[in-house]
């Protein structure tokens, strides 16, 4: 029953599936490129988890299992589009050209963000659950008023759909026909709360109540995610208004490095989802159709390893910010209390050289 509701173009076994509404537009090289993206972001994620365990990062939110959802959506974005992530969209950030080291600055606690959102057309991670949906709709309404040929995409999780912010964002987007795509990665778990306890209907069907289309895509099928996301973004650019995409996937790891999923979910569920692995199915397809050689697969893995080592070196070399910078950007203008606080730090000898 689940399979019938999902848009799927590549089965978990790596067999191509045809879909009347979403034909595949990607050629072999493009599919290999998506495969490379997924292998790299998984490898970088593993390295980041190790860095956290070794005390080099304060926290890490792993993306394992969600590579196809993030790479498919990330690669569907055009350069001029603007995207708003939560704190797990490392794969989307990678697609937007943000370097892995920049992604880790926040988790290393040396930055409140990590990159220039305007440079990459990608907002900094929003930790407050679902808040970015309102930011994105507001941004999209601005795009609409500028008459620009751009779309906005906002990423959030299944847990965020229970938040007021996300529902308000749906209302605003519908009321103004804003050029925004809501991309919910339903990874089944809002930390320890399963989606089924939060919604009586599949999440994509919520869109209908707000008055715009909703669609559920196999979130572990990078080809399907790419096509569905591309179509929704194009609809937004052409004035067709918002779409809710539910990428049906599974968080294979912990919510963050601060929790232990074995305490609230069954190993059997995780095992079942291992057979739906987003990377393995593309590999199976490419190998079976002889579109890729063993040497090319090895080269991609080696490239990922090199990037992981570069990331490690970059993280270890990151120094903390000047303690006094905590006072920067609190207010746009000078503020006497902030000034007094800064001076107090300097007097105590806790400041850097300023």
């Amino acid at each position: 029953m689940l399979e019938e509701q999902l848009v799927q173009l590549l089965s978990p076994e790596g067999e191509r599936v045809t879909h009347a509404q979403y034909p595949t537009t990607l050629n072999t090289d493009e599919i290999i490129a998506l495969y490379r993206d997924m292998v790299i972001v998984r490898r970088l994620c593993n390295e980041s988890t190790s860095l956290q365990r070794q005390g080099q990062l304060a926290l890490w939110a792993p993306l394992q299992g969600q590579e196809a959802a993030q790479i498919g959506a990330g690669r569907a974005l055009r350069t001029r589009d603007f995207s708003f992530p939560s704190y797990r969209e490392h794969g989307v950030a990678w697609c937007r050209g943000i370097s892995p080291a920049e992604i880790l600055r926040l988790f290393r606690q040396v930055s409140h963000g990590g990159w220039d959102p305007q440079k990459y057309r990608h907002s900094v991670p929003t930790i407050v659950i679902g808040n970015q949906a309102l930011n994105a709709v507001g941004y999209a309404m601005g795009v609409q008023r500028d008459g620009a040929d751009e779309a906005t995409m906002v990423f959030f999780g299944d847990g965020a759909t229970s938040q007021g912010d996300v529902n308000e964002a749906f209302v605003w987007a519908a009321a103004f026909n804003a050029p925004v795509v809501f991309f919910v990665q339903n990874n089944q778990w809002a930390i320890s709360e399963p989606t089924v306890r939060q919604s009586r209907i599949p999440l994509y069907r919520r869109a209908e109540g707000f008055g715009f289309p909703g669609i559920r895509v196999d979130g572990n099928d990078v080809l399907a995610v790419y096509e569905v996301a591309s179509a929704a973004l194009q609809l937004a650019r052409e004035g067709g208004g918002p779409t809710l995409i539910e990428a049906y996937t599974y968080r294979m790891g912990a919510h963050t490095t601060s929790d232990d999923p074995t305490r609230y979910r069954f190993d059997a569920d995780v095992e079942a989802w291992k057979h739906r692995d987003p990377i393995e199915r593309v590999k199976a397809y490419l190998v079976r159709t002889q579109h890729i050689t063993a040497a090319a697969l090895t080269a991609i893995n080696e490239e990922a390893d090199v990037l992981a080592m570069e990331l490690r070196e970059a993280v270890l070399a990151m120094d903390g910010p000047d303690p006094l910078s905590i006072f920067d950007h609190v207010y746009a203008d000078q503020h006497p209390l902030i000034d007094a606080g800064r001076q107090e730090m300097i007097d105590l000898g806790l400041g850097g050289v300023r």
Partner: protein, 427 residues
């Protein structure tokens, strides 16, 4: 290892001294209050020292393992070994080269740990949540163990040593599962904690129960009739009703429906709602139902009743029962609540039994017992189908009620429970 944590317990080492490890190779499993996690090696090289045994508690910042980094050709004694440390919240306490600078240049020294109070003694032994859980799962009490960790902390090692030890020779150390079921109006001490023999004064609710049961059992000749009922429709109806917003927090349950069914039976067969007056040798028939609900409370068995229950519809019955049960559980039931019962229901289903033959509250002639509702094979026509089935039992005072009336009454209540919708709509 996780936000806000200050310590972790070594669960198992995955490497030994002398092993050559690669970067990110798993070194050790550690268990914190939040999770069991695997620590990957931050260096490639040879393991020189493991600073702890399984079961040891390691504070954040304390050395865990010493590694001679690969590629250093100088003898170990001349090479400053790098030490990986456990890190809790943030990177502030880690010992990486970039951070050492900051620590030397004036970061405040860590505050000394507060000294644990020496008296009064701790009520429960000091341990970590995973160890408490493991002890509970093994059915042993932390009280019986000696902690060897810091400040007497009971570690996994202590627990394992205890579990491996000769427990049978020290029965006092065996923790008996403590039931939360009160007995004689109190919480009994566990098998090993309590005295060999204990005398409990019979007072209060317990005394009332003793008197009521003896009076009833030895004056009213009890008989019983029972019926298995397919209550699938009722189960579906209750499920449908529960989703109605109008109900709010009201609990509509099988008991609610049964209460209405028993009232309906009383209206059809008023003889059920009667009592036998031995003094005057008269039967008193009452045309108003005070519906008693047998309730297990922490203080003992009581039978509070809903007065004029026959006048209530579904919503008001649900409300009346909810209030009555809440008031009784909280021990706030009044004398008026607890007296005057004319007919009773006892719901033994929640205890997981199929049925029971209850004893009548004194002064009444009928008590219905509801068993658990279970999915069961049921013959429908010539088909065996799965239905929700409940056993309904009527205990009755055979001086007043004969088998024919009892059977009709059970069948009446059974028919109501089998298909409650028409009865609820038109009575």
């Amino acid at each position: 290892m996780g936000e806000g944590l200050t310590e972790a317990e070594i669960v198992v080492w995955k490497v030994a001294v002398g092993d050559v490890v690669t970067l990110n190779q798993a070194l050790v499993d550690i268990e914190t209050a939040k999770a069991t996690v695997e620590l990957p090696s931050p260096y490639a090289g040879e393991i020189l020292t493991l600073h702890g045994e399984p079961g040891d508690i390691v504070e954040v910042g304390q050395p865990l393992v010493t590694v001679r980094v690969a590629g250093d050709s100088a003898p170990a004694s001349e090479v400053p070994a790098r030490t990986a440390v456990l890190v809790g919240y943030g990177v502030e306490t880690e010992a990486g080269p970039a951070r050492r600078q900051h620590r030397r240049s004036g970061a405040p020294a860590p505050l000394p740990l507060p000294t644990p109070p020496t008296s009064p003694p701790r009520h429960s032994p000091r341990s970590t949540p995973p160890i408490r859980l493991a002890a509970k799962q093994n059915g042993v009490s932390l009280d019986a163990m000696t902690g060897t960790g810091p400040n007497g902390l009971i570690t996994r090692h202590d627990l394992e040593a205890f579990l491996a030890g000769p427990r049978l020779t020290t029965p006092a150390a065996i923790a008996t599962p403590v039931t939360d079921l009160p007995f004689a109006g109190q919480q009994l001490a566990s098998w090993h904690e309590g005295p060999r023999e204990e005398r409990i004064p019979v007072r209060g609710v317990t005394r009332s129960m003793v008197e009521a049961m003896v009076t009833s059992a030895f004056t009213a000749p009890h008989a019983a009739a029972w019926l298995r009922v397919d209550v699938t429709k009722m189960v579906e109806l209750i499920a449908a009703l529960r989703s109605r917003p109008a109900l709010g927090s009201l609990r509509v349950t099988a008991l609610t429906v049964a209460a209405l069914a028993v009232c309906d039976a009383a209206r059809h067969y008023p003889g059920l709602n009667s009592s036998f007056d031995e003094a005057s040798n008269e039967i008193i028939v009452r045309r108003s139902v005070a519906l008693g609900i047998a309730a297990a409370t922490p203080r003992g068995l009581v039978v509070p009743s809903v007065k004029r229950a026959d006048e209530l519809d579904l919503i008001s019955m649900a409300r009346a029962l909810t209030e009555l049960i809440d008031v009784t559980r909280e021990g706030r039931a009044t004398v008026a609540d607890l007296t005057g019962t004319t007919i009773t229901i006892t719901n033994v289903g929640p205890f997981g039994v199929d049925g029971a033959m209850p004893i009548l509250p004194p002064g009444t002639t009928a008590i219905f017992a509801m068993g658990q509702i279970v999915k069961s094979p049921w013959v429908d026509g010539d088909q065996v189908v799965v239905r929700d089935v409940m056993e309904l039992t009527l205990s009755f005072d055979h001086r007043v009620i004969d088998g024919a009336l009892a059977s009709r009454a059970v069948a009446h209540v059974g028919a109501f429970l089998h298909d409650p919708a028409p009865a609820l709509l038109v009575g």
